[in-house]
Symmetry: C2
Subunit: 396 residues, 2 copies
């Protein structure tokens, strides 16, 4: 029979990144293409210990249905933690556990946006979220991302020309794919614009705790005096992504709607994983744990930057992230960037062509994304040599 | 600020059942209201053993990102198992792991239905699925459920008057909330109607393996010669619902779209749970395990039926399920059923008013749902006494 799909999903394609991952899984291709945390960053021993104790002491908790809002002790622990950061206001906010920040971003769009409503995002931005928004048939408008965050003038232009814009989606810290961080001034300016044009802000912060350089910059959520910021957080990068545990903080009314939508999506998130996250927060010294992660990523990032600088053609410019997992590499204007990425994978190094992150497929970019958390040190060195040789053949 | 939600979710309310569950959690109210598997049905020792071995032997697998389609060995094991049942055709079908059958049902609707498209279901039916469909703003049309399944004449009438109906949603085995089972004749008739009116069928089968009486009836999926049946299965009732692992079988084209929608929803399901399910299928004698579960539910169901028959007013009629978790109790026509349920909870027995399962809130029903899997034997006896006394006060 003929399969005619709904309008909202018929044009939706699998994420180019996940397709590259599938294609290179189990091969000898060097993975600069993933967004996986470094395996050595996983606190395996602690999780083993916590899981064994949980299944010994309270197996029914870990196996039975639970409430959609999430495991209560985990919610309480997170509220306390986020209140300290100024990101949770007990008087007006609530917090729900979701199956990864991805679900938080998806459901935020679902509860707020009708088909055709405008949602503004940085361009380039995280493809997973962009596809989630597209799956609700919203009018996705990309605004140029500069070194210190979104172009404020262009953001205002977009808000003006798309009156009634529902949501502004931002990844202020170590953005995916660029590794760029939004300055404090711009965070304030974005919030002021959201007030002026009465839009919500969806602040996605999966990498915030992985800052290994530079000074901490407060979240936009800390400036939220009128309940317009939805904050998405995650355990994927600080604990383990296979758990699929994230959380959303927003005004209670918004969280109530997200609860209903989560209920019809997956009832609740895996409860073993929620209980593991809770015990981890309670029994592990988080400062020490995060310090260890930051050391791992500082080392890997600086190794990739120094190897790339050593080997790459001088015509390629790189971002210098202060945290997170990604470096954004710009080829000279006019280059065949996609061709470069294809040749790279033929030589056994996978990177992600920047086009995968553009709001419109036909938007032009000459950049590609490199990830330093997944490959081993040896792979980083070897991969940079290979990309370097390729770049010199083409550009020098 | 004013919170204006999207049209599709603004009218959506939390499931009445889950609200009752939240309200009665941790109280001394006897829970005839839940849909939880019996805690004694959980294979705790096996899960402990499997989890410990997994985290010992392959912790990175259990913690790292995986592909959206699901853990490959689990998919292969399920395909094999479902092929044996005639529910998986390797030539045309594919199988995706989802975060519970709930997600399978939600995503089936998302990929097929535009806002306003008609989706036909049994009335009453499972509120979680109905709300999932409503959250995509479909035109939900309920068709009367008889003792042996949906009323075929009324189904055809509905298909005629709603031309282009996209989906027919059915729970053929031990339906939630009624416990009723669709006859083989009706399954064939429904399939023939779906062919005649070119609709898809979404066959939700979470309870199918919990048959403790009567003869096995083949799934509608086994009759699917032209790829119009989407089959939703689950580990929630045969292993543990806290795991949030289910699966969907459908034509490859449909599964491809569900993959994309799942990718933007939660990337993939918790991978520890997927690996646990896989090892469970591989290392536990499933026939023995299911036999044990069926014994538990046969006992509990027959205890509740005999106690209810002993104590209830003779004016209340009960369904006699051949499997699953629920009994549907009908008060005399014209009774104040919601009032009865309210009085029951005041006397510390929670049941779910049938209105919670109706397609339209104003549809009339005089029935309520009783669950026998969650309460202990003592609670079943005591609860039936209390409900019996109440029913006699009102109806005798």
């Amino acid at each position: 029979m003929d399969y005619i799909f709904s309008e909202k999903v018929s044009a939706l394609k699998p994420s180019a990144i996940r397709e590259i991952l599938k294609a290179t899984q189990g091969t000898d291709v060097i993975p600069f293409s993933a967004g996986n945390p470094a395996p050595e960053a996983f606190p395996v021993d602690e999780i083993k210990r916590i899981s064994a104790a949980l299944l010994e002491e309270n197996p029914i908790l870990a196996l039975q249905y639970n409430i959609t809002e999430g495991y209560l002790p985990l919610r309480e622990a997170l509220k306390k933690r986020m209140k300290k950061e100024g990101c949770f206001n007990p008087a007006t906010d609530d917090l729900i556990i979701v199956s990864g920040a991805q679900q938080g971003n998806e459901l935020s769009c679902k509860v707020l946006c009708n088909e055709g409503d405008t949602l503004i995002c940085e361009s380039p931005s995280f493809i997973g979220s962009l596809n989630a928004f597209k799956s609700y048939n919203v009018n996705l408008v990309g605004v140029e991302l500069e070194e210190d965050g979104i172009n404020i003038q262009k953001l205002e232009d977009a808000l003006k020309s798309h009156s009634g814009t529902k949501l502004i989606y931002l990844i202020p810290n170590f953005q995916n794919p660029t590794g760029k961080t939004m300055s404090l001034e711009k965070r304030k300016a974005v919030y002021a614009l959201a007030q002026k044009y009465n839009s919500f802000i969806l602040e996605d912060n999966p990498y915030g705790e992985l800052r290994f350089e530079g000074e901490f910059i407060p979240s936009i959520k800390t400036m939220d005096t009128d309940g317009r910021v939805i904050y998405s957080g995650s355990f994927s990068k600080i604990l383990a992504p296979g758990l699929r545990v994230g959380f959303v903080i927003a005004n209670k009314e918004i969280i109530q709607k997200i609860v209903v939508c989560k209920q019809v999506s997956d009832v609740h998130s895996n409860i073993w994983a929620q209980a593991v996250c809770h015990k981890f927060l309670e029994t592990v010294n988080m400062d020490e744990h995060l310090k260890r992660l930051r050391e791992i990523y500082r080392h890997k990032c600086s190794l990739m930057l120094s190897e790339a600088e050593k080997h790459f053609s001088k015509k390629i410019s790189l971002t210098r992230p202060q945290g997170g997992l990604f470096i954004w590499a710009a080829l000279p204007d006019g280059s065949d960037m996609v061709g470069f990425c294809k040749k790279a994978v033929e030589r056994k190094v996978a990177v992600v062509p920047g086009t995968a992150f553009m709001v419109n497929e036909n938007d032009i970019t000459y950049s590609f994304r490199m990830n330093y958390s997944t490959p081993t040190d040896e792979q980083i060195v070897r991969g940079c040599e290979i990309l370097g040789k390729l770049s010199k053949e083409i550009f020098d």
